[in-house]
């Protein structure tokens, strides 16, 4: 594993950002993504890639990859983190989520299995106690040279920071759709009240936090967008 001092880091001020034209539904926005554009080159040229999408189930993304002959795995980790059996306390008595149980039930794949992981905005909305264990597991399931795309807020915009799901609608274009908590979680009453109306931004990572989070990866590249989103493309 390489240390962060060996990483290859670049900053780009690209043209990423949201378009004001809403897509089909009133809650959908299209957004250009430089990180996606760079990542997409891998799946446009390679064959039979193994892709893991960690966002909400997206028919658009599943179609996008299967049409190109790739295999796609879908796993909604944010929804999985609302499992009522996860809350516990740590040694100091702080309320946390049981990361061991979480990783026993989720992200269970062979080592070095995936070529691409689409993390989207998961780290920003995932409970603090799960973030590092999840990134550690993602490192192990990615192939050496495999790539991971993640988005981070550069500031907390409060209610203007809704959690989105992302649909790939072009080589460097995403459709963003505000996430509503799944109906079955609501129905069964398993969702903690704090997320009953959707997921809340948990924290704002700065560059150093992000570098530390991905310190075991070989390289990290940042793309700054106009909409206070920092796109990060890391290579294992």
């Amino acid at each position: 594993m390489s240390s962060v001092s060996q990483t290859f880091m670049k900053f780009f001020r690209g043209s990423s950002g949201p378009e004001t034209i809403p897509a089909q539904g009133s809650q959908k926005l299209t957004r250009r993504s430089s990180g996606l554009g760079e990542l997409a080159r891998s799946w446009e040229t390679a064959e039979g890639l193994c892709v893991l999408d960690l966002g909400s189930t997206s028919p658009t993304n599943i179609r996008h990859f299967t049409e190109r002959g790739h295999r796609i795995y879908s796993e909604d980790l944010l929804t999985a983190s609302t499992d009522p059996e996860l809350p516990t306390t740590d040694e100091q008595g702080n309320a946390v989520l049981d990361s061991r149980k979480f990783l026993a039930d989720n992200l269970v794949y062979p080592a070095a299995h995936f070529d691409v992981v689409l993390c989207w905005n998961l780290p920003d909305y995932l409970d603090e106690s799960l973030v590092k264990p999840v990134v550690g597991r993602l490192w192990s399931v990615l192939k050496p040279g495999g790539m991971l795309l993640a988005f981070f807020h550069t500031r907390d915009a409060g209610p203007d920071s809704p959690c989105h799901r992302f649909h790939i609608v072009g080589p460097d274009t995403l459709e963003m759709q505000k996430i509503e908590l799944r109906r079955d979680a609501r129905r069964s009453g398993t969702a903690p009240s704090a997320i009953a109306d959707g997921f809340q931004l948990q924290r704002v990572f700065n560059n150093r936090h992000i570098e530390n989070l991905f310190r075991d990866f070989a390289s990290i590249k940042f793309f700054l967008a106009r909409d206070n989103i920092r796109e990060v493309l890391v290579v294992r």
Binding site: I62, T66, G69, R71, Y73, S74, A80, R182, D184
Partner: protein, 118 residues
């Protein structure tokens, strides 16, 4: 090839929502399942529809599979799979064609195997 219907048609074999079956379920006709099944389901050459009340914990092998309820297990469909908006599926799907409605939940792999048309 026609797509399997999502509503129980007359003459279609049905398992009602009060029925619970544990074991191997196999047959040679289309099946509408709105109850609970644990085990395995094999309908080679025929279609399975899991209704909105259906709760399946089984590996499924069929020509076509339509899911409106819950299905936990791997699905192997020789023709197509449809996940309706109320579907909650945990398992790997292997099929020739798949359609997934907005709102459906899937935890697992989608593998599309194509048959060359000569």
């Amino acid at each position: 090839m026609s797509a399997p219907s999502s509503a129980p048609a007359s003459g279609l074999a049905q398992i009602g929502k009060s029925v619970f079956i544990k074991g191997e379920l196999s047959g040679s006709e289309d099946l509408y399942l709105d109850g609970q099944v644990e085990g395995s389901i094999a309908l080679k050459g025929n279609s399975l529809t899991v209704g909105p009340n259906g709760q399946v914990k089984a590996s499924v092998e069929a020509k076509g599979v339509v899911v409106q309820g819950k299905l936990e297990g791997n699905v192997q469909a020789s023709d197509r799979v449809e996940l309706r908006k109320s579907a909650v599926v945990t398992g790997d799907i292997s099929t020739q064609r798949i359609s997934i409605e907005e709102g459906a939940y899937l935890k697992g792999k989608v593998d599309i195997h194509r048959t060359d048309i000569k």
